[in-house]
């Protein structure tokens, strides 16, 4: 299938004031296909938000893309000038941030905030903007379009605010939406509703979605493929079913074992027993090891893992794993 985004050997580092580099993203390569939902699974510090920011070149001043390429619809994002970037950001690739209350302007009604996005891009005339605004909001708030448009962010619930961010994101008909933990602050019922909005966007309108989360269970049954990020590098990537149900990388396996056991009536005996944990602490991005980044915490490590970095190995069904166990 055709890719909208191709990321190759991306390497991103943050520099301290003293000029010391700590790498946040190491040799990350992946594709996003047209209309698919790609789940990016990673814990705090794994580099997921850095990855999102790099794709749009929105890194803070001390963050540098050191190497690699990002091709979006055939254009090289890393070589693009300011004008070209402007035509990509918000228009072709939209970013949805974690905290809607922070992302929205507190003293502007949300209708105007969505219009603002339109005005910045392809809808210079007022009438066209109004029509498009109406259309976008009606899609997300069918029952109360008017009321929502004239509300201020603090008058809306968490789920409604998240929908407003989605409205801003899709206003200009992007072909890729990057959502960074879009449901982190919502309760499960609202979470499910928001996820189904994303599902709908991808299935009905063919928008590709990169859904960044720390929660593997959100991705089951939703994402087409899952990329597992550990300490800035890709542990494994593949179809959701393969990555979550038949994971190969020791990190993914250990991470999924940490979840409380599924509910099937049979867990009464296991109640209040210790959950398996991953030994040790998350990798410190400042420390530079020669070998595999998961090696210090890995149960299956060999001698080789300490001295060399594993290479990504492609297995059946597009399942790619970076681990020496599979020949990497």
């Amino acid at each position: 299938m055709e890719s909208v985004l191709e990321v190759r050997n991306l390497r991103v580092a943050y520099f301290s004031r003293a000029g010391v580099a700590s790498s946040a993203i190491v040799d990350v390569s992946f594709d996003v296909r047209r209309g698919e939902i790609l789940g990016v699974l990673g814990e705090s510090g794994s580099g997921k938000s850095t990855l999102a920011a790099s794709l749009l070149r929105l890194l803070p001043a001390n963050g540098k893309i050191q190497q690699g390429s990002i091709l979006f619809e055939g254009r090289d994002v890393l070589q693009a000038g300011p004008r070209e970037l402007e035509s990509i950001r918000g228009r072709r690739i939209a970013l949805i941030n974690q905290e809607p209350l922070v992302a929205l302007h507190p003293t502007m009604c949300v209708g105007d905030q969505v219009s603002e996005v339109l005005a910045a891009h392809e809808y210079p005339d007022k009438k066209g903007r109004r029509e498009r605004l109406q259309q976008v909001l009606a899609g997300l708030f069918p029952a109360e379009t008017e009321r929502i448009a004239s509300s201020y962010p603090h008058q809306l619930s968490g789920g409604q605010r998240q929908r407003v961010l989605i409205a801003q994101a899709i206003a200009c008909d992007p072909c890729l939406v990057i959502a960074d933990e879009p449901t982190a602050s919502l309760d499960p019922t609202t979470q499910r509703e928001i996820l189904s909005v994303f599902e709908n966007l991808s299935r009905r309108f063919g928008v590709a979605i990169v859904l960044i989360t720390h929660n593997p269970s959100l991705l089951a049954g939703l994402a087409d493929r899952v990329l597992v990020l550990y300490a800035g590098s890709v542990a494994e990537i593949g179809p959701t079913e393969r990555v979550l149900s038949h994971s190969l990388h020791p990190y993914t396996r250990a991470l999924l074992r940490c979840l409380p056991p599924p509910l099937c009536g049979a867990n009464a005996a296991n109640r209040k027993t210790k959950l398996p944990v991953i030994a040790g602490d998350a990798h410190n991005i400042g420390s530079l090891s020669l070998g595999c980044r998961f090696e210090p915490r890995c149960e299956d490590r060999f001698e080789l893992c300490r001295t060399r970095e594993p290479v990504a190995v492609s297995l059946a069904d597009g399942h790619v794993v970076s681990c020496f166990k599979f020949g990497g």
Binding site: S217, L256, N267, R271, L275
Partner: protein, 269 residues
Amino acid sequence: MQPLIRVESLRKHYRDGRVLGSGHIVSALNDVSFSIAPGSTLALVGESGSGKSTLALCLACLERPTSGRIWFGGRNIAGLDEKQLRAVRPQIQLVFQDPASSLNPRLTALEIIMEPLLLQQSWSRCKTQERGFALLKRVGLSPEMASRRAGEVSGGQRQRLAIARALSLEPRLLILDEALSALDCSVQAQIANLLLELQSSFALTYLFITHDLAMAAHLAEEIAVLSRGQIVEQGIPEKLLGSPEHEATRCLVAAMPRSIATSHTPGAC
């Protein structure tokens, strides 16, 4: 067995916040009754706005209920005045969702843990410090952590610190208000294990407030579902999640993330 805490027809009404409002009354808790046996865990689940946190604040005596009784240690603590509450408060402690905002960023880890002791006990500085280090160790933090500030440690370590502070006065009831929700899965498991371990060594009683039904079923003997300020269903996890009766419970169960059937999870279904 005598319950550790028994709540009887608890009500909490708030007046509408608008200055010139019509005096409209919002009822956050409406006739809530339950009890928790000593050493056990009751999980409280419900959507946002269902009154979970109001209930937590009422039990911790940080909000005064409009009516109803809270029996704790043979006394109705809902009717006590500030002076009498001083003796009750150490026995009921809270752990919040976001340790980054519930811990003082200017204090070191050790100072954070020692603060309640300094306020409540008249121990020597030396003894207090000793107890502080012992608590750090108890929650799995190394002594080197003692001089770090809350902003300088990871999320999991911060939550351990919040738990250590809550334990410092040897409470009997710990209210865990979304204490695991903000953590990564692997850290969640570590903290859940710590809570289990502490419960069995100190015979602690937990009120575990959460969104996460799977975690609730794992940690609690019983689950209560709160909806619009009322407990609409309560029971053992298997029954409540296996055959939910109330609409609100069914909604919560339906909204559960689809479980991941892993080839390598013991007991996968």
